[in-house]
């Protein structure tokens, strides 16, 4: 009897709260442009023909203002280059340097980030959500856009330079209770990763240019290595999960 008396309102309330909280906590990421315009490039190169690489500079601007490149970005860039296996060793300016006079490739990377947090829209929509006593939280979404344009300059030991550019944009959409610093970091990470992959894909297509001997291995080479861009498995979009289930930093 008790169960019948409470069942309908109770079930209705629980359902409404579950749906409301579930929807109000959701977020998803959209990549605005095709990640790669060219198919992933792979090549086989002679391991002994590879030369060391020196990451000389990373210049980063955000909305036109220069900022110090975060240490994690330097590691991400160097890690992505290292994962291609196109170079024999990887050095970073300010740390251990390659042997002077040894053939090497010097890399200069320029990253222009464009952040559009839609602050005015967020403030106005936030006001509406508050004025509705949070009942509109599940239906009013907030947006955060992030774009990156990267220019990669690679200088060979003999002074020849090749330049590559790549652009990537993405947006994250979230409801009030799904707002979380991690979703912004996820968006930035995915956009940066997409841009970096596109750049390195172009580099791989020119892989013979960066070998000490500009000849592809023929016949039965002594030792070869496959080079290519390793795509991160975290590319999957969209993401929708409650706040408590956010991925670790």
């Amino acid at each position: 009897m008790m169960g019948q008396a409470f069942s309908r309102p109770m079930i209705g309330s629980v359902l409404a709260m579950t749906v409301g909280l579930g929807t109000g906590c959701s977020h998803w990421i959209e990549m605005a442009t095709p990640i790669d315009t060219t198919p992933p490039a792979y090549a086989t190169v002679a391991a002994d023909a590879r030369v060391p690489l020196l990451l000389e500079t990373i210049r980063v601007t955000q909305n036109g203002s220069s900022i110090a490149p975060p240490a994690i970005l330097e590691r991400q860039v160097l890690g992505a280059i290292e994962a291609t296996r196109l170079f024999s060793q990887h050095y970073q300016s300010g740390y251990t340097q390659p042997v002077p006079g040894e053939a090497r490739v010097t890399v200069r990377l320029s990253i222009d980030n464009l952040v559009e947090p839609h602050a005015g829209q967020a403030a106005w929509r936030g006001f509406l959500v508050g004025a509705s006593m949070f009942t509109l939280a599940p239906v009013i979404s907030l947006n955060y856009d992030f774009g990156a344009q990267m220019s990669l300059e690679m200088e060979r030991w003999d002074g020849q330079i090749k330049r590559y550019t790549a652009t990537s944009n993405g947006s994250t959409h979230y409801h009030l209770f799904g707002a979380n610093p991690e979703i912004i970091e996820q968006l930035k990470g995915q956009v940066t990763e997409a841009c970096l992959s596109s750049l390195l894909n172009q580099v791989i297509q020119d892989s013979t240019f960066y070998l000490a001997s500009n000849e592809q291995p023929r016949g039965n080479p002594i030792r070869t290595v496959s080079v290519g861009v390793r795509h991160s498995p975290s590319r999957a979009v969209p993401v929708s999960r409650p706040l408590t289930d956010a991925s670790p930093r």
């Binding site: 602050a119 967020a122 403030a123 006593m133 991690e182």
Partner: protein, 199 residues
Amino acid sequence: MGSLLVYILLIMLMAALPSPAHAADPKPQITVGTQEVGLSAGYLLPHRLTQDHTTKQQGVAFMPSWMITLTDPIGNSWYRGQVSLGAEMVYIQFQEPFVTHGVGFAPKIKYTFVALDRIRPYAEFAGGPFWTDLAGKIPEESSQFNFVLMAGLGVSYFLTDQTALNIGYRFNHISNAGTQYPNLGLNASLPYGGFSFFF
């Protein structure tokens, strides 16, 4: 007491000013989605704005709150700041003219100025339903169901990147939006202090 307060404020101001040591410190990074929980306490002091207002209601107030940051810092000048949205519970124990109680829930919007690093002034506005058993016993209010509106200014001092002390002032208005008469409303000042934790 007054000189001690001035001394404390001076120390807080000096700590917030840029210095070689402080320049190396990471300033509190409050980004989109950063949440804030806090607890404030204050004392309600009455304002009788017309001759019809006779009640000198006063008492202690407790305000646990939750907020979420909606924007990254906006602007590049002294007004650089960010918007956050949240809600707070308001509990007031009226000591005068009768020992009575009031409790409310108020969605709240806040603009925090971030140009001074660790010292962050803010402006806030909150409003929501408020129940009190003081109404009916005084000439200004007849119904126990009311609304509370609060607008105020305050300043947060970040002790760490995640913890801040807050002091502020709010103007507090309680009335029933004309759902029952008389409805003169109760007005009060609410100076308060408290702390917040950011995560």
